[in-house]
C-alpha cells in the first residue's frame, strides 16, 4: 500500500478526510476594489505576513456591502476550500444596504433641528392667526417633535 493510500485510509477512519481547516487572521487593508467586492489585505497575525485577496461579500451582490478604510484592521476567515472572507472591521468608509439608489441615511439631530424650526414657525403663524379678527385658523399648536419619537436607538451611525 502506498503511503498516500495509508494516509487516506487513516483520514477516512478518523473522519477528517476533506475536512476544512479554518483560521482567523488579523490583517491590514492595502487596497479596496468595491465594484468587484474584494480587497487586498496583508496578514498581521498567523505564521507570516502574506498578502492576499479577501471577499467583501459572499458573492458579488447587492446585500450588505461594507467598504473598509485602507490601512484599517480587519479580521479575515481563511480556509482550505473557500476564498478568504472579511468578518469584522475596525474602520469603514461606506456601508451600502441593498444598493445605494436612495442615498445616505438621515442625520437625525440635524433633521430634528430643522423639523423643530419648522414646527416653531408654524406654531408662530397659528398663534398670530388666532389674534386677528376673525381668527384665521382654529388649528391647535404643534407639539415639537422630540428625538425619542423618531429615533430607532438600536441602529446608530456616525460620519
Amino acid at each position: 500500500m502506498s503511503t498516500f493510500k495509508l494516509i487516506s485510509a487513516i483520514q477516512s477512519l478518523a473522519g477528517v478526510q476533506n475536512d476544512d481547516t479554518v483560521r482567523l487572521l488579523n490583517c491590514t487593508v492595502k487596497t479596496v476594489d468595491l465594484p468587484n467586492r474584494i480587497c487586498v489585505v496583508e496578514s498581521v497575525s498567523g505564521q507570516s505576513a502574506i498578502e492576499f485577496e479577501a471577499l467583501l461579500q459572499a458573492a458579488v451582490g447587492d446585500g450588505l456591502l461594507i467598504e473598509p478604510a485602507v490601512g484599517s484592521a480587519v479580521n479575515v476567515l481563511f480556509s482550505k476550500y473557500t476564498l478568504p472572507t472579511i468578518v469584522s472591521y475596525s474602520d469603514v468608509v461606506t456601508y451600502a444596504l441593498n444598493g445605494d439608489e436612495f442615498g445616505g441615511l438621515v442625520k437625525l439631530d440635524i433633521l430634528l433641528e430643522k423639523i423643530n424650526a419648522i414646527e416653531a414657525a408654524i406654531n408662530k403663524i397659528i398663534a398670530w392667526g388666532a389674534t386677528v379678527t376673525p381668527p384665521l385658523t382654529t388649528v391647535t399648536q404643534i407639539v415639537p417633535t422630540n428625538k425619542q419619537e423618531i429615533e430607532n436607538p438600536t441602529i446608530k451611525h456616525g460620519s
Partner: protein
Amino acid sequence: MLRPVTNITISQNGAGRNLVLFFDFVTSWEFSNNWEDLSAKGKVVFPKNIYVTEQTTLKRYPLFGVNNNSNIGGFNSEPLIKRGDKIKIEAKYIFWDENLNEYETKMTAIVEGYISAVKAGLPVEIEFEDNMYLLKKTPMPNRSYKSTQTIESILSDALKSVNSKYQTNFRVNNDSQTNVTWSAGLLTSENETIAQFLAKLKRDARLFTYFRGDELRVGRTVYVESEAQTKYFEFQNNIISADLEYKRKDDIVLSAVASNHIEETVGTTKDGKEKKRKKRIEVLVTFANGADTPTWKEVKQGDKPDPNTDGERRTFTFPDATSIADLVEKTTALLKKYYYTGFKGKFTTFGTPYVQFGDNAQLINKKLPEQDGIYKIKGVAYSGGVEGYRQEIELDYKLNV
C-alpha cells in the same frame, strides 16, 4: 541463468567533499516508485565487509568492519557517505547461452537521487529519495498566489530557487495548465517547503506530483501517453509470482459521488455588476450489471447521495466542472477506466523487461487466453542484490477493454 549486476555510484556533495564512490556489490537494494507518493524512496544494504573504489583516484576505501578507521557514521570526522550525497543505481543482467557465450542486457539507470539517511547500525544501510529530496529542503516563498495563476507557473517560479541553490536543472512539465480557482488556502504557502506545498495540493486538491528525471510533473492527468512503452509479461514464463485478482465486470459495482461548487450569474447588481451566487453541484454515478454506460442521479441541495450498499464507492471533487452534465462526463470517464473484466493487483517479474509507472504491461496467459490484456502500470517496486533483480509491478487499469 541470469546473473544480476548492480552498480551503485555515490557522489559526495558539499564543501570539500568530492569523492565518487563506486560499488559493484551490494547485499540488497530496493526502490519504490509510483505517482501516488510524493517522493520515490529506496534503501541500500551493504555487506558487513566491503571496500569501495573512488572513481577518480581508484583508491580503495574500507567501508567499515575490517578497518576501525573507516568512518561511515561520521562521528569522529567527515564521513564517507553523508545525507545529501548523490546516489545512482544501475542494474543489468549477464547471461550465457548453451555454448557459454556471454551476453548482457542494457545497463538501466533505476534511480538517480539523494541519500536521505545513513543508519548508524550494522550492516550499513542507507536510505535515499529521488529529486523530491531537494524540494523537501527548499522553502516556498511566503505568499498567496492568485487563483488565476496556474499550478505549473507557481512551481516553475519555486523551482528557480532550487536550481540556483543546488545547481540543478529542474523544470516543470507545461503540457498541462492547472488552476485551483476556488481556494486561496491551497494556494498560500506559509513557512513551508516546496514539498509540503505539493503534499497539500495532493491531500486537499488531489493534484499529484512526481519527478521523471529532472522534470516535475503536476496536474490532473498523471500519465504521459507519448512516452508509454508496452512490455510483455507471460504467466508460466517471466511472471514469477502474482497477487492478482481476475474479476468480471458483471460482479463489480463501482460508484462515485462527484461534486464541485460553481459560481453562477443570477442577474445584475444595482451598480451594474454581474450578480453571482455559489451553488453546489453533486452527482452519484454508478456502473453495475456489466453495463457500458452508467446510471447517474443528481444529488439536490440538502439531499444525501443514496447509501453505498454494494461495491466500491469513491468520492471526487472536480474543481473545473461547470455543470451537472460536465460532472457526469468527468466522473464517467474516470470510473470507466476501473470498470472492466480483467486483473487488479500486482505481480513480480525479473528485472527485464524494465518498466516504469506509466508504461503498459501486456499480460499473456497461454493457458487461459481470455485473461490476456494490456494494463497501465501504476507503480513499480524494484529490488536487487544477492537474491536477484526483481520488479513488482502494480496495475492501474485495463487499456484494451
